[in-house]
């Protein structure tokens, strides 16, 4: 598969060269001198013409002798006309064209509707002009990426690595080694709540990529930004109204090649699923009956090669003498993914032969079949009353319905337990905001926003089924229903936020901004679970004919998973921006965030923590210094203080059983805070060429880590605790270089973090006695890789309308899960992924595109770095130095389609 593609690429690179009269040169922005990639250069009233390359160069060949008018033009620029004359066949005329923008320039990162915010040039300029340290990917770059969700795009950003879901797609971002809990997600600068049942961080695989205008990763905060980003903040800027009528549409299809006739997709339907639990329907005192539980979600249907489909549509324009701008866009994806996995459950470590000798539980051969239905709808309206007053209304609805079938069995037994789990998760986020921008005087500006957001996740009739096949001397002697349970979970986060910001220009080089917000968050969490008991000795055939009963037909009425909580956050800030001699810019000030959390749960009155509240305030000073060394170079220094709030799940004394442990909340948990220092050198060369080099240092106080609190044999609990001070430092390097039609984009981040926590050790005292104790273990933070990097090779031929990109991502080994047992942490082995995408203009307004992911067929491997005690020939084992406890294979995905743009 890979070879022909590469040949095809090479062929394209070295073709089309003949010698004749030629006009060539560069096309630049007259003001900034930046090369204008994709600008059209043509000879008026002839068929001769071309587009500028990645470095702004152009070349028109084979021109007959004569006089011509050469025209240089680009959307958003005033076209330039010049006359040239060609006297000889062999003439080579060099003509550099300077054209100027016809709109006002952008100042800050968050800009209003007009202008082409999606292009590569624009993102580089934004990075250069930004007040703080950030990285940006624009829509043009996103369009060419192999990725179709925001989660996957993030792995391309410098300093960012991703945490994958069981289908292998990026779900959460780790920024500079700081785990997902230390980062937040914004949509158009407005923080959105998470549909996650336990955490604040937002699953990023919900968002379809094609709604984005740009994706910003902010790594140093200013006082005007929300303060809970110790790692960084991800800001999704959604497409805004274009300056002229723009219609675009995409239609694509593809497949995941793990799904074949020998490994079909075994999916289920949710059409008859019981959306509500018996308790929700009839009340807590209702004794549930067998008939209240459906089984259709456990009836699987095979399909050999299900087709993935993607559709998107967008229309935008400016009307009423350009006063009203609008854009409406929709995106729909229906994706089938498969994962084959090997998984070893773990057991309590042994004291022999050495302390904490790893012991596993059982081998599970797992198979995941996941269908994802992703819907994104977005609408943005802005109305300019006059120069001084503007109103915009923004709406976004995203929804991810995931139907996941997990099947596993333990192959090496005389009792074959086959487990099937059907989990239908419906997550959605809705956010709407109304924003006003007003220039009260020429010096005083005011903006305000009212935002309403709602995030919901629901897993109705989540079913776990275990069928037991018992053999004796090789013969199947019985087939029985062993375990069967169903549960309903639902959580809703509802945010209402008001923002108000004033900006006063004290002097032309000195601005003061003050402002703040008040957010009222309400959360509602419910859980109802039922065990359906097997009837011993009854032969099992199919689930619809199975017999079972309920020995306890109620839900747990003292389950703290049923709770309501509210959190009010009041934040205010004062920020000054001062520019000295047009070269030195200082932005600094103080922010204060005051959090007021309270909860009411269903926990038994005989246990502590049924109700509770937490009030805390965090003063968050910051200072960003930007020194412009030259028009192309910046030097930045910054300091900011940030916090990380515990989630509701972490402070309420909830218990929720997981695969190996029970997670439980800790009401005494405090927010973590951190001092963050950054220094960055930036060089923006012609075009999109770029060099960014930076260092950072973070000191995290009260770092939140999960530690083991043993309560009994059957219920070891892990709960979040403030485990002391952690440090994290590293450096980042970003290089982008474009020559004619070629570009290379690379970044590398080194990170080194350290924390010491107490962990359990089982050891032998003497021949007769074994015991255990807690010992200190120093290790990196969960999720931190020492080395992460990206390299992309870009080829762009504007004349042929052909773009291609080969993208490589490397994520170094990192702790995937912190074990409560000393030195037995789960590490994710270093991971390399190679993806390819290309796009070709086929008709005037149509582009054909192809995206292929995971060319190297990289598996995801989780291992324990410990002498291997598992037989070498056992599934997944490949070294005596480590124990592979999980190996996920995803194989490639292919996607091809058409894009239409007017």
């Amino acid at each position: 598969m890979i070879k022909p593609l590469l040949c095809f690429l090479l062929l394209l690179l070295f073709s089309f060269y003949t010698k004749a009269a030629t006009v060539k040169g560069f096309i630049f922005d007259s003001k900034t001198g930046e090369p204008l990639v994709g600008a059209t250069i043509l000879l008026k009233n002839t068929q001769y013409g071309t587009s500028a390359g990645l470095d702004g160069s152009y070349e028109i060949k084979n021109i007959p002798v004569g006089n011509y008018t050469i025209v240089g033009q680009l959307v958003g620029y005033i076209a330039l006309e010049k006359t040239i004359s060609i006297k000889n066949d062999s003439d080579v005329i060099i003509d550099n064209l300077l054209i100027s923008e016809n709109i006002s320039q952008l100042n800050e990162v968050i800009v209003t509707g007009i202008g082409e915010q999606e292009s590569e040039q624009s993102t580089r300029r934004s990075e250069q002009r930004a007040d703080n340290v950030l990285n940006i990917i624009g829509a043009k770059a996103i369009q060419l990426l192999p990725d179709i969700t925001v989660g996957n795009i993030l792995q391309r950003v410098s300093g960012v690595s991703i945490v994958r879901n069981s289908s292998g797609d990026g779900q959460y971002a780790i920024i500079r080694g700081m785990d997902k809990r230390y980062n937040y997600t914004l949509v158009n600068g407005i923080k959105i709540p998470s549909p996650d049942n336990k955490n604040r961080y937002v699953p990023l695989d919900i968002f379809p990529a094609d709604l984005l205008e740009r994706l910003e990763v902010v790594k140093a905060l200013t006082p005007s930004m929300e303060g809970d980003a110790i790692g960084g903040a991800m800001n999704m800027i959604m497409k805004s109204a274009p300056s002229t009528l723009t219609i675009s549409a995409t239609l694509a299809g593809g497949y995941s090649n793990i799904l074949t006739s020998s490994r079909p997709f075994a999916g289920f339907s949710t059409s008859t699923i019981a959306t509500k639990s018996p308790e929700a329907l009839y009340g807590p005192s209702y004794a549930a009956k067998v008939n209240d539980f459906g089984v259709s979600q456990l009836q699987y249907k095979n399909s050999n090669m299900p087709i993935n489909s993607i559709m998107s549509f967008s229309i935008g324009n400016r009307l009423l003498a350009d006063k009203l701008g609008f854009i409406v866009a929709g995106s729909y994806q229906n994706i089938y993914r498969g994962t084959n996995s090997i998984f070893w459950t773990l057991s309590q470590p042994r004291p022999d032969p050495e302390p904490n000798t790893f012991a596993f539980g059982e081998l599970q051969i797992r198979k995941f079949d996941t269908q994802q239905n992703r819907l994104g709808l977005h609408a943005k309206l802005d109305y300019n009353f006059n120069r001084n007053n503007k109103l915009s209304l923004y709406n976004l609805f995203v929804k991810l319905d995931e139907l996941q079938h997990r099947n596993y069995y333990n192959p090496a037994t005389i009792v074959l337990d086959i487990h099937d789990r059907s989990r239908f998760t419906s997550q959605n986020i809705y956010t709407t905001s109304l924003r006003g921008d007003h220039n009260i005087t020429t010096k005083l500006k005011l903006d305000w926003t009212f935002a309403y957001s709602n995030a919901t996740s629901s897993t109705p009739a989540w079913s776990d089924l275990n069928i037991r096949y018992t053999y004796n001397n090789g013969n199947l002697v019985s087939t029985e229903l062993a375990d069967f349970s169903q549960q309903w979970n639902k959580n809703t986060d509802n945010d209402k936020t008001g923002y108000l910001n004033f900006n006063y220009q004290v002097k032309s080089n000195f601005d003061i901004a003050i402002g703040g917000f008040a957010r009222f968050k309400n959360r509602d969490n419910t859980r109802a679970s039922y065990t359906l008991d097997p009837i011993a000795g009854n032969k099992y055939t199919t689930i619809d004919k199975a017999s079972y009963y309920l020995s306890y037909p109620y839900t747990n009425q003292s389950d703290a998973n049923n709770y309501t909580a509210k959190e009010n956050v009041y934040a205010f800030y004062a920020q000054g921006k001062y520019t000295l001699a047009e070269r030195l810019q200082l932005i600094g000030g103080l922010r204060s965030e005051n959090t007021n959390l309270e909860w009411h749960s269903q926990l038994s009155i005989y246990k502590s923590g049924r109700d509770g509240s937490k009030i805390y305030s965090n003063p968050l000073p910051s200072l960003n210094v930007k020194y412009t060394l030259s028009p192309k170079e910046n030097l930045r220094l910054s300091y900011y203080k940030a916090l990380s709030r515990p989630s509701f799940f972490e402070v309420i004394p909830i218990e929720l059983a997981g695969d190996n442990w029970t997670d439980s909340g800790n009401p005494n948990l405090n927010a973590a805070t951190a001092d963050n220092y950054d220094a960055r050198y930036e060089f923006f060369d012609k075009g999109n060429d770029q060099l960014l080099a930076g260092v950072f240092y973070k000191k995290i106080y009260n770092a939140i880590e999960y530690t083991f609190s043993n309560t009994s044999v059957s219920s070891g609990n892990v709960s979040p605790n403030n485990t002391g001070t952690a440090t994290n430092f590293g450096f980042e390097l970003v290089v982008a270089k474009y020559v004619k039609n070629f570009g290379v984009n690379a970044n590398y981040t080194y990170t080194n973090s350290s924390i010491t926590t107490q962990k359990l050790v089982f050891y032998r005292v003497d021949a007769n006695t074994t015991t255990n104790r807690n010992e200190d273990q120093n290790r990196p933070l969960q999720g931190q890789s020492n080395h992460i990097g990206n390299v992309s090779f870009v080829y762009k031929n504007s004349k042929l309308g052909f773009d291609a990109q080969l993208s490589f991502v490397y994520t170094g080994r990192r702790i995937n899960f912190v074990s409560p047992y000393k030195d037995l942490d789960y590490w994710q082995r270093d991971f390399s992924q190679l993806d390819f995408s290309c796009e070709k203009k086929i008709f005037k307004k149509f582009n054909y595109f192809l995206k292929i992911t995971n060319l190297l067929d990289s598996p995801l491997i989780i291992e324990i770095v410990h002498t291997n005690t598992i037989d070498a020939d056992q599934p997944g084992q490949d070294s005596r130095k480590s124990i592979v406890i999980q190996k996920d294979d995803f194989h490639q995905t292919f996607l091809t389609g058409l894009r239409f743009k007017l």
């Binding site: 807590p284 005192s285 057991s347 309590q348 012991a359 596993f360 059982e362 333990n410 090496a412 037994t413 005389i414 009792v415 337990d417 037991r468 004796n472 001397n473 090789g474 003061i512 003050i514 065990t531 009837i535 011993a536 009854n538 017999s547 009963y549 309920l550 020995s551 306890y552 747990n556 009425q557 003292s558 389950d559 004062a574 103080l590 204060s592 038994s604 009155i605 005989y606 246990k607 502590s608 109700d611 509770g612 509240s613 937490k614 009030i615 805390y616 305030s617 218990e655 029970t662 009401p667 043993n710 309560t711 009994s712 059957s714 219920s715 021949a767 255990n772 005690t869 598992i870 037989d871």
Partner: protein, 501 residues
């Protein structure tokens, strides 16, 4: 000059604003959490139906319990002979979400029955279906009340110092707990009929009767214990041991009769983080018809050591149990794990065993007297003696799906000199199923004269295994007496020093 002054003024204003903000935002953090409700223990009286109590339940009185009965830390509940405690169904709204009632002991429980006037923890008007081959369940669910879990259990917590239960019937418990009111039971799981979880506490269960159960009738996850001369019937529905012991427990399990347990009589495992290492002396027990309701094979059927546990296993009579003594030796991770949830090996070097009698009515049972995962081999002191029968154990590990036996056991079926000759009992015979009789009523497990079990016992376990006496000896606050091993096998030695039932 004036410009500079204006700027200075502005800077001062900004500085004041900032310091004000710092002042405002430095108000400290505060956490408030609702505390667990505490009720001081009320003195027991005739109207007690639950709640926190202390004092004495007076002889021959009947109590009907409808909400959890709680003995607070520092309080003592004494139960005099002849008391009947009917554990009723509970209103979940008043009972921590549970539909079953429990006796929750944080303090001290002294249930002091006598042979003449035993104490009952039972369910009012609940008949037993103790007939041969009674059905456990039908399509509507469990029908034998022994396995229904009508009430919860007698549940200790990590702070329970002393639990003494003598001459007491504990029946029909192990109901499902939506919310476990104590440490050591998982929410949503059945209660243990008796649970004890304090490694520094003392647990005594003597001369008592434990009937029925859904999971383990007795689960100890820490404690010094003496479990002697008791009768266990119908323990566990699809799994469950008469006595299931984890890390942090040391004590004796002797002179007990177990009949019809789902899995084992006693089982010891050193799972958990409590210390010391689990050490259980299992001797002179009679274990009959057990191991047949366990829903996974390979987990034992009479006496079991696994996951680092230590102790002894001597002088036991094992009649028609699914497996013989199992001291788990097979390591995990081999190509042939026996069961789908393999476990760590027992602390084999710290276990002594021998002098056990096995009777097998059919070849499936005879094939498992020495189970494949158990590393005992033929100790030479057991009855029957496999060398005399001419049976050689070929392999103990590993095995494949096709071979789950270590030898061909035909010669051990009803081998001469293996019928222990109980005074009154119906052996399964060639056609009957050992699981048909899972109760003791109507039978007498004393030995007839001429029984092969007489005179075959070890009266000591060797120099490395001195007799254990870890609990205080006291009529009211400890053991009535730690009976040493006998020259006869089983729970009913001919000198009458064993089980008095």
């Amino acid at each position: 000059m004036k410009m500079k002054f204006v700027l200075l003024k502005q800077l001062i204003v900004a500085a004041i604003t900032l310091s004000l903000m710092i002042e405002l935002s430095s108000c400290g953090s505060k956490t408030e959490v609702s505390v667990a409700y505490y009720q001081s223990g009320k003195p027991i009286d005739a109207t007690t139906t639950g709640g926190a109590v202390k004092g004495t339940m007076l002889t021959n009185t009947t109590y009907r319990i409808t909400t959890d009965l709680i003995v607070n830390a520092g309080d003592t509940l004494v139960i005099q002979p002849g008391v009947k405690i009917y554990m009723g169904a509970a209103d979940p709204a008043k009972n921590a979400g549970n539909a079953v009632t429990n006796l929750i002991v944080h303090g001290t429980l002294l249930s002091l029955g006598t042979k003449e006037s035993p104490i009952y923890f039972t369910v009012e008007n609940q008949a037993k279906t103790d007939v041969p081959a009674a059905k456990v369940s039908d399509l509507t669910g469990v029908i034998d009340p022994a396995y229904k879990g009508i009430w919860g259990g007698i549940l200790g917590d990590t702070d329970t110092k002393l639990m003494v239960i003598k001459w007491t019937h504990v029946e029909f418990g192990c109901g499902k707990l939506a919310t476990a009111p104590v440490t050591g039971i998982t929410n949503g799981n059945p209660a243990y009929m008796i649970s004890f979880i304090n490694p520094n506490g003392v647990f005594v269960l003597e001369d008592s009767w434990v009937y029925g159960g859904v999971d383990d009738p007795i689960r100890l996850q820490g404690g010094k214990f003496n479990v002697m001369r008791n009768t266990f019937e119908k323990g566990g529905l699809l799994g469950g041991e008469s006595l299931n012991v984890k890390a942090g427990c040391v004590g004796n399990y002797a002179y007990n009769l177990t009949i019809g347990a789902a899995t084992n009589g006693p089982k010891a495992s050193n799972k958990g983080t409590n210390t010391p290492t689990a050490n259980v002396y299992m001797y002179n027990n009679t274990i009959v018809n057990s191991g047949f309701r366990r829903d996974k094979p390979g987990r034992g059927g009479c006496l079991n050591f696994e996951e680092g546990a230590t102790g002894v296993a001597f002088n036991n009579i094992v009649v028609n149990c699914k497996y013989g003594l199992r001291i788990l030796t097979a390591d995990k991770g081999g190509a042939g794990q026996y069961s789908s949830n393999p476990l760590l090996p027992a602390g084999f070097s710290n276990i002594a065993y021998g002098n056990n009698l096995y009777y097998a009515d059919n070849v499936d049972i005879a094939n498992q007297i020495y189970p494949v995962e158990s590393g005992t081999g033929n100790p030479g002191t057991d009855i029957p003696n496999f060398s005399t029968l001419g049976i050689t154990l070929t392999s103990t590990f590993p095995m494949t799906k096709a071979t789950v036996v270590a030898y061909e056991g035909n010669k051990a079926v009803k081998a001469a000199g293996t019928d222990p000759l109980f005074k009154i009992f119906t052996l399964a015979g060639a056609t009957g199923k050992p699981s048909d009789i899972s109760y003791a009523t109507g039978f007498d497990f004393n030995l007839q004269s001429g029984s092969p079990a007489i005179g075959k016992g070890a009266t000591s376990f060797g120099a490395n295994f001195p007799l254990l006496s870890v609990v205080p000896i006291s009529d009211n606050f400890g053991s009535s007496g730690v009976t040493p091993p006998n020259k006869d096998l089983g729970a009913y030695p001919t000198d009458g020093s064993g089980n008095k039932h």
